[in-house]
């Protein structure tokens, strides 16, 4: 089930909230069981077959947790648990990729299995690995099976993160019960953040997405301007897509009185790649730091080893995002940039002009996203090649389709530009500039709502935005991060 769907907004969410509010009066266990049940429905709605995989994963990890506790946090038990999780991930996410690699290297002909990737498997697998590692380190609080199942399956964060750590979630689950009451302030803020996320996804990300999809579907025939715009538009599409999902997750959590960790903090405002990774997918970065970088020695084993460790972290990040060499290249590009910036800071003591470093960082990120979006490395290189040899011409009508319908037509009508050729270019330009201005200059929804005064006028404005979003849901698209 998608957050941006009629069934979620008009059926699932009201039922989940009402049941939770009613059951909270009965004690601590039933509301949690209710949330787990609703989360299983949420997950099973995508594909009932996925549900068994997730349930088995939760059960087996909880057994490992119990074993680790009873055996005195022995390392072999941790290794067993982590290996089991990684094997699950490798099978479902990387089997075909590894088979293709083996066939290419060994000149064999092992058949591919075309395994359907269970949604969110990377997220709930990493979250459980993090939990086992925290348990091994003695940092995880004791928890019941119900609390653990809720920790893994809680629907707002199940499909595309954040990768929550037990230290921030379990204490909140412990408070669920008759005494926790209804936090009106949190609910209202959650509602505002959820609608802001919905708007980010359906009004902004999906508009850019139409041009991006067209460009990548016709890479061999796009011109240079379309290729450049496709690179920029995908950077904006992914930003507002992931921002939308993260906001919706946080908003939903708040409606249930739960604070979900911040995962996205205006990352394109970053002045260098190090700052970017403190703002983009924050919880994945934290996970990799705690569970890969530090165990590898972090920065404690000398300069050279530090940079090797950093490159390994970005390699794993690339592989985690997808099974393909394009994702590996994307990860390594970020790794190289990260190490370069760190070296410059460490040895050259170069202080760049802020605007310059901001621009360089943003352009680098945009180019790296090409490898992230493309089906494979060949397609990514083909698109980049079109920037140079695509020939200069204005973007075509098909590329601008997303800017030439619906509400945009009325804007052109008001401006008396419906019958002129420049209308759609003007709309594209205004929409893109406005989006970039908000991206670089405006505070994000979390910050805005921290000090928001809930005036009547804002209620009307929020209502209008919500209605606009609901009317836009019929062209539903999935979140880009669902498949990672």
């Amino acid at each position: 089930m998608l957050f941006n769907s009629y069934i979620f907004i008009f059926l699932f969410l009201p039922v989940a909230l009402t049941g939770y509010a009613l059951l909270k009066r009965t004690g601590a266990t039933l509301p949690k069981v209710w949330l787990i049940g609703m989360s299983l429905w949420f997950y099973g709605y995508f594909n009932i077959g996925y549900l068994a995989i997730m349930v088995c994963s939760i059960l087996s990890n909880y057994l490992i947790y119990l074993w680790m506790r009873s055996a005195g946090r022995k390392r072999p038990v941790l290794v067993l648990g982590v290996t089991g999780n990684i094997l699950l991930l490798v099978y479902y996410k990387y089997f075909d990729f590894l088979t293709e690699c083996a066939n290419a290297v060994l000149k064999t002909d092992f058949p591919l299995r075309n395994i359907l990737l269970p949604l969110g498997i990377s997220f709930f697998t990493f979250q459980q690995i993090g939990f086992l590692a925290d348990t091994y380190r003695g940092e995880a609080p004791e928890c019941t099976f119900v609390d653990y199942a809720l920790f893994v399956s809680f629907f707002p964060q199940l499909i595309a993160g954040p990768i929550a750590d037990c230290g921030s979630m379990m204490p909140q689950y412990a408070l669920i019960g008759p005494k926790s009451g209804f936090d009106r302030e949190k609910f209202r803020r959650g509602m505002v953040i959820f609608i802001a996320g919905l708007a980010s996804k359906v009004l902004v990300a999906d508009t850019f997405g139409k041009s991006v999809d067209h460009a990548y579907a016709t890479v061999s025939s796009i011109n240079s301007s379309e290729a450049i715009l496709a690179i920029l538009f995908y950077a904006l599409q992914l930003y507002y897509d992931f921002n939308g999902y993260c906001n919706m997750a946080i908003g939903l959590g708040l409606m249930f009185g739960i604070d979900i960790p911040v995962n996205f903090d205006s990352p394109y405002k970053s002045h260098n790649i190090i700052e970017f990774w403190k703002r983009w997918h924050i919880t994945l970065n934290k996970f990799l730091t705690r569970n890969v970088y530090i165990p590898l020695g972090g920065s404690r084993k000398g300069e050279a080893r530090t940079y090797v460790n950093l490159m390994l972290v970005f390699l794993i990040s690339g592989i985690w995002h997808g099974a393909g060499f394009n994702f590996i290249i994307w990860g390594l590009m970020h790794g190289v940039m990260y190490v370069t910036v760190r070296l410059l800071k460490r040895f050259a003591h170069i202080e760049c002009d802020k605007a310059f470093s901001h621009a360089v960082t943003f352009i680098f990120i945009c180019i790296a996203w090409v490898f992230f979006r493309a089906e494979d490395t060949g397609e990514a290189l083909a698109l980049l090649k079109r920037v140079i040899d695509g020939g200069w011409a204005l973007p075509g009508e098909a590329f601008l389709k997303g800017f030439n319908s619906g509400e945009f037509w009325y804007a052109l009508k008001v401006l008396h530009l419906t019958d002129t050729g420049i209308g759609r270019y003007l709309i594209m330009l205004l929409f893109t500039v406005a989006t970039l201005a908000v991206t670089f200059l405006a505070p994000n929804a979390l910050k805005v709502t921290e000090k928001m005064k809930y005036r009547t006028g804002y209620g009307v404005l929020l209502g209008v935005v919500f209605v606009w979003c609901v009317l836009s849901l019929s062209g539903v698209s999935t979140f880009l991060y669902f498949n990672f």
Binding site: Y6, F10, R184, R188, S405, G406, E407, W409, Y410, K413, T418, K453, Y454, R455, T456, G457, Y458, G459, V460, L462, G463, V464, F466, V467, W468, V470, L471, S472, L473, S474, G475
Partner: protein, 351 residues
């Protein structure tokens, strides 16, 4: 004081949402631009340009006694001419690039609405599309407009595209209003039907030998006829099925020649025609070998799509019986086509 202001925020939000959604939903249901609930309003300037989304509604709620089915080869027909020549009230229900499954789906909607009162089906068959998988549709069908589930109608009722582009926009700009007899008409104007325009879109096919055995094509056609077309012909002897093969230009046959497909295509026509003519309620019209049409590029906007005048001529033929083919005359028609396709002086075309 703060509490009152907060209450105002919540109430304002709820009122705005309820009012907004009710208004949007009501406008869509009243105008019903995809005819999902009722026939078109008398004076509303409907824009009828979305075949996949509008055909089921048109089939269900329009007033007609015959239908015109087929691919983009049928969109230039003026349905009023069927009335003038044959006294029929014909509804156009074309699907661009239609596969047999598309025809099956819309036939089921047509018979659900009209039952045995349907007098005639004019069915344009493109042999190229009849060898595909029997369950394949050209485009995904829109679930909420094709199924009977009332709950997923929410995707229609609260739909920004429907509301802005098909309910409000026609009112704001009546210039796109569709003529009911010419719905789905191509954008080409009379000045576009000439060799210069054909040349714009046409690139000769690569020379290659088609390796697919003719029997494989025939098997595909047989399966599609058996699954998607013939069950309706058999179940409705009261309906006359007028099948016609759209006349592509001679350049279509140039491509077929370059790819070694002429005999295979002719074999397909042979099989299809004989199979369909086994039924008393089927008649077949053969225009493929009509030199006056297919060798004159003033009839074409590209190498396959012909002009409204050609459509008028075909309607006239279907009314008079001219160019109707029988099992007895089929061999001769196909032989004429074979000779034309092989022997035409393609070098004389100024490509």
């Amino acid at each position: 004081m703060r509490q009152d202001r907060d209450k105002g925020f919540v109430i304002a939000f709820i009122i705005t949402v309820v009012a907004g959604l009710l208004t949007a939903g009501a406008l869509t249901v009243i105008v019903d631009p995809f005819f999902h609930y009722h026939a078109p309003l008398k004076d509303f300037p409907y824009v009828v340009d979305d075949q996949v989304d509008m055909n089921p509604g048109l089939a269900a709620h329009m007033d007609y006694d015959s239908v015109l089915l087929g691919s983009s080869m049928t969109v230039a027909f003026d349905t009023d001419r069927f009335g003038e020549k044959m006294g029929l009230k014909t509804q156009k229900l074309s699907y661009n690039g239609a596969y047999p499954k598309d025809q099956e789906i819309i036939l089921s909607k047509i018979y659900k609405a009209k039952g045995s009162s349907l007098k005639r089906v004019f069915l344009g068959i493109d042999e190229l599309n009849y060898s595909c998988d029997t369950e394949q549709t050209k485009f995904p069908v829109t679930d909420y407009l094709y199924d009977d589930d009332p709950f997923n109608d929410v995707k229609y009722i609260w739909n920004k595209t429907v509301l802005l582009d098909y309910v409000l926009r026609p009112v704001a700009d009546r210039s796109d209003k569709s003529d009911w007899n010419m719905i789905y008409k191509p954008w080409w104007q009379p000045m576009h039907y000439n060799l210069a325009n054909v040349r714009l879109y046409y690139t000769p096919a690569e020379e290659a030998e088609d390796e697919t055995p003719t029997d494989d094509y025939i098997a595909g056609i047989e399966a599609n006829l058996n699954v998607n077309i013939i069950p309706y012909i058999e179940a409705h002897p009261e309906t006359m099925y007028t099948v016609f093969y759209p006349p592509y230009s001679i350049l279509y046959w140039y491509d077929a020649k370059r790819q070694g497909q002429i005999d295979k295509i002719i074999a397909k026509y042979d099989y299809m025609t004989r199979r369909l003519l086994e039924y008393d309620n089927v008649e077949v019209y053969f225009f493929q070998n009509d030199e006056d049409i297919i060798c004159d590029f003033d009839n074409y906007a590209d190498h396959t799509h012909y002009s409204p005048q050609v459509c008028d001529y075909m309607v006239d033929c279907m009314a008079s019986g001219r160019r109707r083919v029988t099992t007895e005359s089929l061999d001769e028609e196909l032989e004429t086509l074979r000779r034309l396709a092989y022997d035409y002086d393609y070098d004389s075309i100024d490509l």
